[in-house]
């Protein structure tokens, strides 16, 4: 073995002009130092005509341009009597055409150019319109992009078709156990709130073209939109082009609805939804915090150790690696803009081990609150965040989008510049404090989607019944078409 190594080292020396001593274990490796400063948002920040803000960065390596508009708009703002409005607006913004072009004309033109234009609502109050075109087609692309953003016409035939497709789509809302779980878990934690309202056939049917137009007028104007633009263009020329197109676009007073931040107390215990499947899909936890909170970094590090750090985390090690109970398990803090997010442990496991898996996760919730994490665990978590930091900026497109998101949510632009110092400041004590503040196993709602009999019966390591975890409430599955409980088959 040693002989071969020496021989190879020699070969390496001869061919590449460098010698590397081959090591056996990662701990023997010595890495050269690496310094990295993140890009400065202010060097990309641009204010266009009418106060439209943007982050613009040239990237000439490929003949492509990416433009995304981030809009403070989404289903959260649907009026109580018009639930589904944002969804329908999203589906018909492009297909409904503009004052001068039909939806098909827009799509066919972009298709011919090999471009793409799409509208998404990744969060309940952030929507994006994204364009990608070859740089030679930039003028065409920008004209279509801003026409859709500024002048949508929501033509009746297209709106009618999209409405029908959305209603057909409702039929699928209960197909995936995971989708039922996440929807109902949020309903338990937030109660009846715009965050948890869902459209029905009736609410879709009541929506009209004037509703869509007035909704667009209310939320789509330059001061409440942030652009992220990257690719093969000259920044100065691009700014001129965009300024010229948007010159007629008028601002209006911001009209973001004020929504309640009070949520009803949640009764701890088991919430069970019956489905005839071989596994239980489980989320357990309670509300969390906002990512603007000063404790955010400590919570991230703490959750990495608890169940967010994949195989290095306690829940994954225990439930998946040690016990082989699940393919997918861990814990997460989900964040939402302007509201506390959710905290949840999660697992999908066969019915007979549902109780056992829940008990293991609850045990880890308790442990992280009572004993300090080890130095090694803290090191792994902190180093992960520090060493992988540059990943945020791996593409110019991702960088401009990250900055645009900060700007839209009103977060400080030096968020990334200060990020590593804040992670470094997390100590074992702060992790313990974060766990005690934000994890409350005694208040956890344990939501299970699965087959009641075998789940409740349990197995050898955890014989049922499930009321060992507290009061069991059977939750009726909602028929998404009507919003009423599904009738028993």
């Amino acid at each position: 073995m040693k002989k071969t190594c020496a021989l190879f080292s020699l070969l390496v020396f001869l061919t590449a002009g460098a010698v590397f001593g081959q090591v056996e274990k990662p701990s023997d490796l010595k890495f050269p130092e690496l310094k990295y400063d993140p890009p400065a948002p202010n060097s990309m920040r641009t204010v266009f005509a009418s106060g439209l803000r943007g982050f613009v960065q040239e990237d000439r390596r490929l003949p492509l341009v990416n433009v995304t508009a981030l809009i403070d708009f989404g289903r959260l703002y649907d009026p109580a009597d018009k639930v589904g409005l944002a969804e329908l607006l999203g589906a018909s913004l492009i297909k409904g055409g503009t004052k001068t072009r039909t939806g098909s004309e827009i799509e066919d033109r972009l298709d011919f150019l090999g471009g793409s234009l799409s509208f998404f609502s990744p969060g309940e109050r952030i929507s994006t319109l994204s364009l990608s075109v070859m740089s030679k087609d930039l003028d065409d692309g920008l004209a279509l992009f801003f026409d859709v953003l500024m002048n949508p016409e929501f033509r009746e035939d297209a709106v009618r078709l999209e409405k029908a497709r959305l209603i057909e789509g409702l039929r699928q809302a209960n197909d995936q156990p995971a989708a039922i779980l996440s929807r109902e878990y949020e309903r338990v934690l937030y109660g009846d709130h715009p965050l948890t309202r869902r459209p029905t056939r009736k609410s879709y049917e009541g929506l009209t073209v004037p509703d869509l137009k007035s909704c667009h007028g209310r939320f789509f104007f330059p001061r409440d939109i942030v652009l992220a633009v990257s690719g093969d263009f000259s920044k100065a020329a691009l700014k001129k082009k965009i300024d010229r197109i948007i010159a007629p676009w008028k601002n209006r007073p911001s009209d973001i609805p004020k929504l309640s931040r009070d949520f009803p107390p949640v009764e701890p215990g088991v919430y069970f939804i019956q489905r005839p499947i071989s596994q239980g899909y489980i989320s357990l936890g309670h509300l969390g915090l906002e990512d603007t909170h000063p404790d955010y970094h400590a919570v991230q590090v703490m959750n990495f150790i608890l169940g967010g750090g994949s195989f290095t985390s306690r829940i994954t090690t225990k439930v998946r690696s040690d016990e082989g109970l699940a393919y997918n398990t861990g814990s997460r803090f989900a964040y939402r803009w302007g509201f506390p997010g959710t905290f949840s442990g999660y697992v999908q496991t066969k019915s007979s081990t549902v109780g056992y898996a829940v008990s293991l996760i609850l045990k880890e919730f308790k442990r992280i609150r009572t004993e300090p994490v080890t130095d090694e665990e803290l090191d792994t978590a902190v180093n992960y965040y520090l060493e992988s930091f540059a990943d945020n900026f791996q593409t110019v497109q991702a960088t401009t989008l990250s900055f645009a998101n900060l700007e839209l949510a009103g977060k400080p632009l030096d968020y990334y510049a200060r990020y590593r110092d804040r992670i470094k400041a997390v100590t074992r004590d702060k992790v313990l404090e974060a766990a005690r503040t934000y994890i409350h196993p005694d208040q956890a709602a344990i939501m299970i989607v699965g087959d009641w009999e075998p789940c409740n019966k349990g197995g050898e390591k955890f014989p049922g019944p499930l009321d060992k975890f507290g009061k069991v409430r059977k939750i009726a599955l909602i028929d998404p078409l009507t919003g009423e409980p599904v009738k028993a088959p």
């Binding site: 081959q22 490796l29 690496l34 492509l64 789509g169 596994q279 900026f393």
Partner: protein, 507 residues
């Protein structure tokens, strides 16, 4: 439209597309003496390197009895080696030999005896096994590789098994690529398959997770029916019976056959100096001896000669699929089939219906015809899968139930459209738009370092990474006659399968 000029520079093995003289894609190639290939795309700037290792092995290399083993083996590659994940290897090895011995006895009793074996014996051996597992625990460093990667800033840490290839992924800070070389070469040469039996439970849970997805089981049957002989007929997850019965020695044999340097490519994309990558690769991967070459799979799909139809009902949405056999990737008909799929099902407007259902986009011919104009479908798409040994072309549609459209109506409409294409092909605009789209999609793929790494790696294992470029050139040459030709050749009833699925009410 102005064409982008591609040219191949063979000397430095650089694929170059010239635009104002600037280099955009520059793949550097190096072959180690043991046959392992190293491909590099330097991208100075952000100090990260995407590091992927691909093996030319997947579910098509399996046979009945060991289906699912490629994927199970991929899981085992995270369970430590002779070096990683263990405090005292000698003692650990001793225990594992005993575990193998007792589990062999247990499997023979349980699976070889028609009555399922003697319950008393099984319980005793199971207990013996559990004792041994308990004794092994203190010797194991849990998820060692994963922890080491993560604390060194490894992201995108994962692996995936497909029909044809298996990949191992990590993105690291650019000063730490040596860590990947050490750990990946260690996995290749010192694999040990620790905690094999409990990891099998995890994989069976993964299969159950899929089984609970509405439509999975029907889809599995459709695939199994579509292929009579080809190993594409089973899913990567494998059949549950095989998962239960696969042994640790099956895994060893599988590893020794396929996880060899001459069946493997490593790809690096990011901020690095290629000379240093080559030197590190020589040191770490270069220490592994070359092994016997791997024979390509033998069984191609024989001609079908009779129409197949499959009917099902269950908890998934009502839908129709028409599938046709097409030639393997690299055939002259691959490009026209790709262009045709783009014309019929192209889009990118919203990523298919509600994010599901694939390319049912808003500007494809099927969408315009069936969704927009006739209002018979919720979505409609076409997809061409040019697999390595047996291709497939697929039409999919979901009917408008609110308008009482039946699956039979939809099937008739799709067949009418197929006959139109056989006769007239597609329009000049459709043809050009499809070509433009494939070209711009290719460029878009280059934007993502991970996407680029994966395209290069997988392409390399089949027909070489340069196929990425030559395929695009083939796409440009496609004519309307080519399109009519492939439609006539492959879209015939006795070359295909119709899968008709209805949602069963009450579930």
């Amino acid at each position: 439209m102005k064409r982008i000029a591609f040219r191949l520079c063979l000397l430095l093995a650089a694929a170059v597309f010239a635009r104002g003289g600037s280099l955009v894609l520059d793949v550097r190639e190096h072959v180690l003496p043991n046959g392992m290939k190293i491909l590099m795309v330097p991208r100075p700037g952000v100090p990260r390197v995407v590091c992927h290792v691909y093996y030319k092995v997947g579910s098509i290399n399996e046979r009945p009895g060991i289906t699912g083993i490629a994927h199970l083996h991929e899981h085992m590659m995270f369970k430590g080696t002779r070096v990683m994940g263990v405090t005292d290897f000698e003692r650990n090895d001793e225990i594992n030999r005993k575990i193998d011995e007792v589990m062999n006895r247990l499997y023979r009793e349980r699976f070889w005896k028609p009555d399922g074996g003697d319950a008393e014996k099984l319980a005793a051996w199971q207990k013996e096994y559990e004792e041994l597992v308990k004794a092994e625990k203190p010797l194991i460093i849990k998820d060692d590789l994963w922890t080491v990667y993560m604390k060194n800033g490894g992201t995108g840490l994962n692996a995936s098994t497909g029909n044809e290839t298996t990949g191992y992924y990590v993105t690291l800070p650019s000063n730490k690529v040596e860590l990947q070389m050490l750990l990946e070469s260690d996995r290749m040469m010192n694999a040990y398959y620790r905690e094999f039996y409990s990891e099998k439970d995890v994989v069976m849970e993964e299969r159950r997770l899929s089984e609970n997805r509405p439509g999975f089981l029907f889809g599995e049957q459709v695939n199994a029916s579509f292929y009579a002989a080809s190993p594409y007929s089973w899913q990567v997850l494998g059949w549950m019976d095989d998962l239960k019965k696969i042994t640790r020695s099956d895994i060893k044999k599988f590893h020794d056959t396929y996880y060899v340097p001459n069946n493997c490519v490593a790809v690096y994309v990011g901020d690095f100096n290629p000379e240093r990558i080559i030197a590190l690769a020589e040191t770490y991967f270069g220490r592994i001896p070359r092994a016997a070459d791997v024979e390509p799979i033998r069984t191609y799909e024989p001609p079908q000669d009779a129409e197949k139809r499959l009917y099902g009902e269950g908890p998934a949405p009502t839908s129709l699929q028409l599938m046709f056999h097409t030639p393997p990737d690299g055939h002259a008909d691959t490009a026209p089939l790709q262009v045709l799929a783009t014309v019929l099902g192209s889009g990118g407007f919203g990523g298919g219906f509600m994010g599901r259902g694939g390319g049912g986009g808003g500007s494809g011919r099927l969408w315009k015809l069936l969704v927009r104009d006739k209002q018979m479908a919720v979505n409609a798409s076409a997809f061409s899968r040019p697999q390595w040994y047996a291709g497939a072309f697929q039409f999919s549609a979901m009917p408008r139930l609110d308008k009482s459209v039946s699956l039979e109506d939809l099937e008739k409409e799709i067949w009418a459209e197929i006959e139109n294409i056989k006769k007239d092909g597609v329009t000049v605009e459709e043809l050009q738009a499809a070509k433009n789209r494939r070209e711009s999609n290719f460029l878009r793929g280059l934007q993502s370092p991970m996407g680029l790494t994966s395209s290069i790696g997988r392409a390399e294992l089949n027909r070489g990474w340069r196929a990425l470029i030559t395929d695009l050139e083939d796409i440009r040459k496609v004519t309307n006659d080519d399109i009519k030709g492939v439609a006539a050749r492959y879209f015939v009833k006795d070359n295909g399968l119709a899968a008709v699925y209805r949602r069963k009410m009450g579930r």
